[in-house]
Symmetry: C2
Amino acid sequence: MRETEARDGVSEKPVNLGSATSPDGVLVDQGGRVLGPRALGTRQKLLDATRDRLDSHRLREIRVIDVARAVDASPAAFYQYFKDIEEAVLALAEAASSEMPVVAELLEQPWLGNAGLGCARKLVSAFIDHWDHHHAVLRVRNLVSDEGDARFRAVRGRAMSPVLLGLARQIEASQAAGRISQDEDPRAAAAATGAILERMGAYHRDLAQGGVAQEQLIETSARILFRSVTGESLL
Amino acid sequence: MRETEARDGVSEKPVNLGSATSPDGVLVDQGGRVLGPRALGTRQKLLDATRDRLDSHRLREIRVIDVARAVDASPAAFYQYFKDIEEAVLALAEAASSEMPVVAELLEQPWLGNAGLGCARKLVSAFIDHWDHHHAVLRVRNLVSDEGDARFRAVRGRAMSPVLLGLARQIEASQAAGRISQDEDPRAAAAATGAILERMGAYHRDLAQGGVAQEQLIETSARILFRSVTGESLL
DNA sequence: TGTACATCAGTGAACGCGCGTTCACTGATGTAC
DNA sequence: TGTACATCAGTGAACGCGCGTTCACTGATGTAC
């Protein structure tokens, strides 16, 4: 249904392929038309309203009508920019997830000695900050991804892959230096340590509420991460 | 509405308080009546049909009508046993989660040396087996729990707490023995290492599909777990 | 062992609500000359 | 600079569908004597 217009292959118009963005990054509406400045503003307002609702409602409880009314628009306006609520949330998730590469830079230099432990602390803190800034959106991104939705899985995967690759590289280096056994698999180890990072990002509030101070959470996670990745014993 | 009958306080009848079980474990229907053998059979068939659908559908896509029809019952029959689909899934989650204490027994003896590494391997394997046996139910349990539902959070918490407590105790012992720094918090460390276990349980198939052999996944996770919990370096 | 009655278990048809979605239309903005 | 026209952006009212839920009822099972 949706690709009928793209079939001829020679059209120069940007086309909406189900995502909010055409291949070259130009935003288009559901009919494939390029958005003017006024439309871009409305689209953004709709996205903001969607994110606001996400803080206090489950995904399935968010109604197109409510989002539209929140920005004094009609429901039909919403459908000009998004196929449904999920597609709007996907756009929000893409925006939030795009911040990850900066975080992953902390893994580019080798984690050695005390400086390495410092990098681990910064990495955990960066993850927690990232989640605090986008908590509702990232939570839903992971939920829908866990439900099996291919688009959300892809966004989450793109966000996490630089981190996982960075962790795997560190572990390979540690193996080469003889600090970690060859019996471990770098990708498996990256998945395990990456799970710690995601868990702390998503759950640190609950843990803090359970009586563990935020600082201890960061320090402990950083130390476990550091030991897992470098093979150093830290005492 | 539902507690009208319980108000007098002297009734000896088991009462359905919104959960599928009365306080003393006797199964009752939505009106508070004890279930006979025939009704128990129907209830179980409805639960089985719900679990079957869970394998191939999202929670929100599961319809009372479809579940009822799958066992040749009318939708009204479903409502005699469950308030809605979520309550049926909650019952399934409780049943699955009740297996955890057996798994947590692996944490009761101290993890020392090679035997300790063996325990870590067994723990990871047990977690993966547990998830393989109840994959759909546990996935939904965690999803709904992450959405903030108090009942599912409670079930998940009850399942995980023996494991988390066991991990925390091991870590405290390692601190006492001077193998782990006092700068780490046992509960935070338990949360971090517990995240590895849950991640492996929930995701090991995807990781295996990504090219990491199941055995390497277990071995790597077990080693990271062992090092994190005991402070031993393993090489 | 048979009969009458009580309770248990389940039915099926339909009501009604709430939301997603659309369509013909209007108003706003931009552009050519 | 003004006018005419094209396109952009958004409206609002309503259709209709699909599902949750209920209610008065029937059939099945158990039990007392």
